[in-house]
């Protein structure tokens, strides 16, 4: 028997709102609902509660948000790239699923199998963030109690948006964070259970759950950021005033050439922020901070750089083998995620001891957590053990400092002689054939055999240091080492300045730009995420970011992409990217939010828009938030070199919010895209929010998650994906201009689909108007005269006057619109408004 509710109604203004109308089951959460409705700053207006059919979802399961997920997945059904012909998920397998209509013993078909893989991948990616956030809470509780107040900073109006839209309460203390994370932990277990044999069987249900895991990724990531900022001192822009932001935060040195190897070098890899912070504090307390190098690769490099200005950020996570082969570290402190499985063997070869600090990546090392630091250090320095597992940040830091001091200067490792090693090459071509980017390694090895290393050095420019060439070489030639050695001079000059991560775009900045989208001053927001696993990724990501900044896009970055872009050189300004532009979330700015968990700050920014512009309440109100973002906010993510499951989960989380995602070529290896079909007119519709009329609309954005082949394609695609159904006129002009200009620059012509985005001739950029009007007339059969639209051709073939066309195609500019039937104004409310 359920207990009696504490109360059944909440009074908002003069209206009594029955709780059972808002949520499926209010038992036990009556007070949470009440607070969500009546919270003075972020609660509900009485009028809005009357206008629409409000449904709130507190700590929802995936199923409770299917109303929104189904809208997206109907428009953008998954396109799968099967990994195998057979299903081996249960003991009845293998079942061949390749033939048309083939089903396995359990009824599984190929799409369902791939949907299972999609959900599993999304859960795995999210589990990293959830368990990482849990570890951070545990670390925080060693220093503070549950009542410790946590926030992004004093200028924050919306305390914890990603958790708040799901769980329905804000996070003010560690206890709140613990409660929200517990929800995520319960959910991820449920989602993973759904992906097991004998449970979920429907493709769309499975993909809804993959979305849900993505939302949990962003929730957990924001909790991780809150703890890092509030408990471990990572810098946050929300603690600063607006006038301080153009040059906030500090720069850190970036690049392999920045490390001073005459000093002992402690290198942090993976997610190991707490040991990093402890090490810095220890070095400061012992007055060693100037005498020992603190360096980081991947997430650790970004996070520790947010804490300590002297951190050397040596590269993105994919650079780690290069760093090891170069022998830069004297000790490697490894956390979790994005560390190659062969790192211990690599470190052994390079005589670099490893301190593993995560339960999730023990590397086969002995657990020495309970031992004295001196004992761990002596065993490692005496080479009795290659490293140790130390699940204690303070102890790991103390051991790392001592080991670095003792090992420094004793390593006797050098890269092999190129010409000599290359003599073993028989030119079989295996290296080039297995290189994920098909670099011309074989030819370069041929030249190296003759003593010419220039071609190998060119390979270095596009190499992602995966070592696949080497592991497949039948002659066991250390090809990666040769590539690295050929570029030694270049590596010495890899010295750049990177703006340290700064957490969330501040409320003050966001308010400044929120209306700029409508006025067309800003064409959209593009955020870069993902890893450097693409040939030439460093230059590519920097090139794209720079190009978008020059075209007045707001540009954000997070994760290893933020590192990769640091080396891009702006020829006009004669500065590298982060020095060329200020660090504001404004036009001509580039904001590095931080490591992968800082992707939650990017999501925060998108949610804030809905509240600043439309006052859309956030608590447990996911659907309305996403509906608004998808229909109105021009925002997209570029994941140029996606590698890990984390990025898969992040892509799911952003896509569910209505944020479009462009992936680099290797994004196809995630084996699922969410693609729209612009030719299927039945898929492109939207409700006029006041009348409920279902209008045919432009196919925009055309896709939700899509991969492209080149950086030029990525730029054009991203401008195309920023079109939104509810664009204002000036915003649409600005987007059109960017899309057409970029397309013409790169593809030497005009896009074939531009007519589909024309709602009125007033939205065509002036500089291109005559040309486009002529094409509309000659190619698409529109009626125009002297550059003015007389009659437009509706997709159904009817010729309509501009007024009729505007009424029948697209949403009228400035009109409230929605994709969710219950968010249409109720008929009696509409009548009231008309009377007024």
């Amino acid at each position: 028997m359920k207990k009696e509710p504490e109360f059944r109604e909440v009074k908002v203004g003069k209206t009594n709102i029955p709780l059972k109308d808002l949520v499926r089951d209010p038992s036990g959460i009556e007070n949470v609902i009440k607070e969500a409705l009546t919270e003075p700053r972020l609660g509900w207006a009485e009028r809005r509660l009357q206008q629409i059919d409000v449904k709130l979802h507190f700590s929802p399961s995936a199923r409770e948000l299917e109303e929104w997920d189904k809208i997206l997945l109907d428009r953008y059904p998954p396109v799968y790239h099967p990994t195998t012909d057979d299903c081996n998920m249960c003991p009845l397998g293998p079942c061949n699923l390749l033939k048309a209509n083939a089903k396995g013993a359990c009824g599984m078909d190929m799409n369902t199998k791939m949907a299972h893989e999609s959900l599993t991948k999304s859960c795995k990616g999210t589990s990293i963030q959830i368990s990482g956030a849990r570890d951070l809470i545990k670390e925080a509780l060693k220093r503070f109690d549950m009542a410790k107040e946590i926030s992004h900073g004093e200028n924050v109006r919306y305390p914890s948006i990603n958790p708040c839209v799901l769980v329905g309460f804000d996070i003010y203390t560690i206890a709140d964070a613990d409660r929200a994370l517990l929800y995520a932990e319960q959910q991820i277990a449920e989602l993973l259970a759904s992906a097991t044999y004998g449970n979920e069987s429907d493709v769309i249900d499975l993909e809804e759950k993959a979305f849900h895991a993505g939302s949990l990724f962003l929730l957990a990531a924001e909790i991780a950021e809150l703890i890092k900022e509030a408990c471990f001192g990572l810098c946050s822009a929300s603690s600063k005033n607006l006038v301080d932001l153009p040059n906030f935060p500090h720069f850190v040195d970036q690049g392999a050439g920045t490390v001073d190897t005459t000093k002992p070098v402690i290198m942090f890899a993976g997610s190991s922020v707490v040991p990093g912070v402890e090490t810095v504090e220890l070095l400061k307390s012992k007055d060693l901070i100037e005498k020992i190098e603190v360096a980081g690769v991947g997430a650790a490099g970004i996070d520790i750089g947010r804490y300590f200005e002297g951190t050397k950020n040596v590269g993105s996570a994919t650079d780690i083998l290069k760093i090891i082969r170069l022998g830069l570290p004297d000790v490697l402190v490894a956390g979790e995620q994005c560390i190659p499985l062969n790192i211990l063997a690599e470190c052994k070869n390079a005589q670099i001891p490893v301190i593993a600090t995560s339960n999730k990546a023990c590397m086969g090392l002995d657990d020495r957590t309970d031992d004295e630091v001196e004992s761990i250090v002596s065993d490692i320095v005496d080479k009795k053990i290659p490293g140790a597992l130390v699940i204690d940040s303070e102890k790991a830091a103390a051991a790392a400092v001592q080991i670095a001091q003792k090992i420094s200067g004793t390593k006797d490792v050098s890269l092999p002689d190129i010409e000599k090693a290359a003599q073993a090459c028989v030119g079989c071509g295996t290296c080039s054939a297995t290189c994920p980017n098909e670099l011309m390694i074989t030819e370069a090895m041929g030249s190296a055999k003759q003593g010419n290393t220039a071609a190998l050095s060119e390979v270095y420019d596009s190499c992602i240091y995966c070592g696949k060439c080497e592991s497949t070489c039948p002659g066991s030639i250390p090809i990666l080492s040769l590539i690295i050695k050929s570029a030694q001079e270049k590596i010495d000059t890899e010295k750049y300045k990177m703006r340290a991560g700064r957490g969330t775009p501040s409320e003050l900045e966001f308010r400044d730009v929120a209306f700029a989208f409508g006025f067309g001053t800003v064409s959209g927001i593009v955020a870069f995420a993902g890893c450097g696993a693409n040939p030439g990724s460093k230059d590519d990501v920097g090139y794209m970011a720079n190009k978008l900044i020059e075209l007045n896009y707001l540009v954000l970055s997070g994760g290893c992409a933020a590192i990769d872009m640091a080396s891009y050189y702006n020829d006009f300004k004669q500065k590298h990217l982060y020095e060329a532009w200020n660090s504001l979330f404004q036009i001509e700015g580039i904001v590095n939010c931080g490591s992968c968990s800082a992707l939650s700050h990017i999501a925060r920014g998108f949610y804030k828009y809905t509240h600043v512009i439309a006052r859309t309440p956030m608590r447990a109100n996911y659907t309305e938030q996403a509906d608004y973002i998808y229909g109105k906010l021009p925002c997209a993510i570029i994941m140029w070199g996606p590698v890990s499951e984390q990025m898969y989960a992040a892509a799911c989380g952003f896509a569910r919010m209505g944020v479009t995602v462009v992936m680099g070529p290797h994004g196809a290896k995630f084996n699922r895209s969410l693609m729209g079909n612009a030719n299927d007119r039945s898929k492109w519709w939207c409700y006029e929010g006041f009348t409920g009329k279902k209008n045919e609309v432009e196919p925009c954005p055309p896709h939700l998650i899509v991969s492209v082949e080149t950086k030029e394609e990525a730029l054009v695609m991203v401008t195309r994906l920023l079109f939104r159904t509810n664009d204002f006129r000036d915003g649409r002009i600005s987007k059109f201009d960017s899309y057409l200009t970029m397309y013409e620059d790169y593809f030497k012509g005009l896009p074939e689909d531009f007519n589909k985005f024309v709602r009125s001739d007033a939205e065509i950029p002036w500089t291109k108007k005559h040309k486009l009007m002529r094409i509309l007339k000659e190619k698409y059969g529109w009626e125009t005269e002297n550059g003015q639209l007389i009659r437009a051709k509706h997709p159904d073939g009817r010729m309509l006057s501009p007024e009729e066309y505007a009424a029948e195609y697209g949403i009228r500019v400035g009109q409230y619109s929605t994709f969710v039937p219950r968010l249409i104004l109720k008929a009696d409310e509409r009548a009231k408004q008309e009377e007024e």
Binding site: A100, M110, G429, A668, E709, K748
Partner: protein
């Protein structure tokens, strides 16, 4: 699926009722030239993905359009799609100019969800293609490719 020799290419292409050429970001001059030649011979459309449309337009070649590899694949699995030239859904796609590990993903989709045959002209074997060549030296590959197209 099946490794073929260059000598088999002319017959395979001639057997197709409605083939389409798709060129990718890794296309070199040879691929662009041979794609145009093949298109001229058979009067078939080139879907130029990556940045290759700029190459075709630079040579004033008209029977082509800027497309995206992900969209090509997506259209192919739509039952009602009639091809970029409106002549019906292609029964064979001739691919050239791709990173093999990337194209292989799209080939896997076509293999699993369509009845369309796929032929890759690149200098590497792709397991999910219906027909694919074995790797050769770059010079040999170019010479043999030109010969094969010449014979059509």
């Amino acid at each position: 699926m099946s490794r073929i020799s260059f000598a088999e290419i002319p017959a395979l292409i001639k057997d197709a009722k409605n083939p389409m050429i798709v060129t990718g970001a890794k296309s070199n001059d040879c691929i662009i030239e041979q794609a145009m030649k093949l298109s001229d011979k058979l009067g078939i459309h080139i879907a130029a993905t990556g940045n290759t449309i700029a190459d075709f337009r630079g040579k004033d070649f008209k029977r082509c359009s800027k497309e995206w590899i992900a969209e090509v694949t997506n259209f192919m699995i739509q039952p009602e799609w009639q091809g970029y030239d409106g002549k019906g859904k292609p029964d064979m796609i001739i691919f050239a100019g791709y990173l093999s590990s990337v194209l292989d993903r799209f080939l896997a989709t076509l293999r699993a969800f369509t009845s369309c045959k796929t032929l890759t002209l690149d200098n590497k074997y792709m397991a999910n293609a219906t027909f694919s060549l074995s790797p050769l030296s770059l010079n040999d590959w170019e010479t043999k490719l030109k010969d094969a197209i010449e014979q059509i």
